[in-house]
């Protein structure tokens, strides 16, 4: 089993999908390595969910191929692909308790009742839901529902788990807790996760590979560190945040907001100050454009600035990242 898993790269080749006149996914190519945590990141309507649904088999591409390992799965039904999907809002079966929810796929395959219950209980233990096994989804909290949904998706031993905005329905505290758990689970299982999200913070925290999408196309795919430090386009620089996009001398470049130094006196003005804990975020109006600067709190409080103070800005030439 583990051998087949380690070879199961996912290849998307010239994949396209249109809904009526709207092009949702526009001829994308992507390789996701086996065992990798891949986050697809982008604003709503960028095509990330459609891509995920095509990989899952719930949407049929207009053109292009989807290959998992050495098998072309483009035309196969969802359950034959070796993928499993965890739906946004979990989509648990409201009439079944946790055990039957998790055992559903086994029941569909004709596994006898004692066996599938036994396997479902093991899975519930794995996702820490053994105690609530007799409850129905309506009696569970959001986080608990998510654990059951995870269990239900993993019971088929997929080579690839697809997660559609899995954390967006949770409150912020739980979101961070579940994030850690997803990562741990992915590492334990050793299978690839493809996780769709619109939160760049989530993507950075989880991913081995971040795929930034916009208007049906892949703007950039790479390790979080590379995407953050070397955004490939103006869109990426703006979307992942923490960057200032500056146009000067016929050149567009990005500068990280924490690489800009603020000096007292000059032709720029502080418009707003936000205290964020470790850092302070300053919105500064320069003659040309508006910029965001984050500085460490101790640096800020050494000579605290106030809104309206005139300042000048400065950064190292090496911190300028030229955008195409």
């Amino acid at each position: 089993m583990s051998e087949t898993r380690s070879n199961s790269h996912l290849y998307l080749k010239a994949l396209s999908k249109r809904f009526g006149s709207v092009v949702a996914v526009d001829n994308i190519d992507l390789t996701i390595d086996a065992g990798q945590y891949c986050c697809m990141l982008g604003p709503s309507g960028c095509g990330k969910s459609s891509t995920l649904r095509m990989i899952a088999g719930h949407e049929h591409p207009d053109s292009g191929r989807i290959v998992l390992g050495s098998t072309d799965i483009t035309g196969q039904p969802p359950a034959k692909r070796g993928t499993a999907m965890m739906f946004q809002n979990y989509a648990l079966f409201p009439h079944l308790d946790c055990v039957d929810n998790v055992a559903f796929a086994l029941k569909m395959r004709g596994v006898d009742k004692p066996t599938r219950r036994e396997m479902a209980l093991q899975m519930l233990e794995r996702v820490h839901m053994l105690e609530q096994r007799a409850r129905k989804p309506g009696q569970l909290s959001g986080g608990q529902q998510q654990r059951v949904a995870l269990g239900r998706a993993l019971i088929t031993e997929p080579q690839l788990l697809l997660l559609d905005e899995p954390l967006s329905a949770l409150d912020p505290y739980l979101r961070i807790e579940m994030r850690t758990e997803l990562k741990r689970l992915q590492r334990d299982l050793g299978i690839a996760f493809v996780h769709v999200t619109h939160s760049q913070e989530e993507a950075m925290a989880l991913a081995d590979m971040v795929v930034v999408m916009n208007e049906g196309q892949i703007e950039q795919a790479g390790q979080p560190y590379d995407v953050f430090n070397r955004p490939a386009s103006v869109f990426v620089a703006k979307f992942i945040g923490g960057h200032n996009v500056i146009e000067k001398d016929d050149q567009i470049f990005a500068v990280r907001s924490d690489k800009i130094r603020v000096n007292r006196g000059g032709d720029s003005v502080i418009r707003n100050i936000e205290f964020l804990g470790h850092t302070v975020k300053l919105s500064i109006q320069s003659p040309a454009t508006e910029l965001t600067v984050t500085c460490a709190d101790n640096e800020f409080y050494r000579g605290p600035y106030e809104t309206g103070d005139p300042v000048s800005l400065q950064w190292n030439h090496a911190d300028q990242h030229v955008l195409s």
């Binding site: 359950a79 809002n89 989509a91």
Partner: protein, 293 residues
């Protein structure tokens, strides 16, 4: 407004409907039960407390088993039509509701088709029943057609004034009562739940049987209660479409009323009510209807 006056105003708001309910439902029902224990002769009814109205209905019935007495035969006949109408309206109603809920994707189209289903209700029950007669009669359209294409040599008799026409009329009249609650249940099923079932490897029938049907149970139960209670007490449809030849409990009560045998009619009504209630209780044991309300 103080808590006290607001509480009074709540009771005041509930009062008109409570009075209507009391006057037109509770009081008559109690009267029926009371009268069912009264005595009667050919020309008068006498306040009393006797059980003969009940025992007369089933006199000798148990002794004659397995041969059916009139009362048992009537109940069997009524229950046969209840079952047939229930079963056919359930299958049809489920199918129509499924089509409306899952196969029609635009809301406008759903509403349009739904309204189309209600068009027959713009005319009265009786007119809808009677309009079958020129269609199904000996010289009716169906028989003419069958003879013209040479399928039969002489008119088919069982089309009208038969069990067939009674069942047909019930199905025609009451399928919508099944469609509405089942459609309502289906619209509450999240589409992603169905996708999740496909994702878990279920085929179309497995999704239907393991997800759609269980989640429609409350709707099915409510629709079933509508159809069963209506058909249980019916005497007009069975009368008109059965050519006054088919027995039903409703018909017995109707006849007894016309002979002013109120106590006996009341006893029959109480038994009918008890059986209907038992069916409903049995169904609500299987399905939690309150979930839907």
């Amino acid at each position: 407004m103080s808590a006290r006056t607001s509480r009074i105003s709540i009771y005041l708001l509930a009062l008109p409907y409570a009075l209507v309910f009391l006057l037109f439902f509770v009081v008559p029902l109690v009267l029926v039960v009371v009268v069912s224990f009264w005595d009667y002769t050919e020309y008068s009814i006498i306040p009393d407390f006797i059980g003969t109205n009940y025992s007369d209905i089933f006199r000798g019935c148990v002794a004659r088993l397995p041969e059916l007495c009139t009362a048992f035969a009537t109940y069997v006949s009524t229950l046969k039509y209840v079952f047939l109408s229930w079963f056919i309206t359930l299958i049809l109603g489920f199918g129509v509701a499924y089509y409306l809920a899952f196969c029609v994707s635009s809301l406008t189209m759903q509403i349009t088709l739904f309204l189309l289903c209600t068009i027959p209700f713009w005319t009265s029950n009786v007119i809808r029943m009677i309009s079958w007669i020129p269609l199904l009669g000996r010289g009716g359209l169906v028989n003419q057609f069958l003879m013209n294409i040479g399928l039969v040599d002489e008119p088919v008799d069982w089309l009208l004034y038969s069990g067939f026409s009674v069942t047909l009329a019930f199905v025609h009249l009451y399928t919508l009562f099944m469609v509405v609650p089942i459609f309502n249940s289906m619209m509450r099923i999240e589409r992603s739940v169905l996708e999740a079932a496909y994702d878990a490897g279920a085929n179309g029938w497995q999704v239907l049987w393991n997800v759609v049907v269980p989640l429609c149970k409350p709707g099915i139960a409510i629709g079933s209660i509508f159809v069963i209670t209506i058909v249980m007490g019916d005497f007009i449809t069975i009368g008109v479409m059965g050519g006054q030849q088919i027995a039903s409990i409703g018909k017995i009560i109707n006849v007894e009323m016309s002979y002013l045998q109120f106590p006996s009619a009341a006893a029959n009504a109480v038994i009918l009510l008890a059986i209907t209630l038992m069916i409903i209780v049995a169904m609500s044991r299987i399905v939690d209807i309150r979930r839907e309300l």
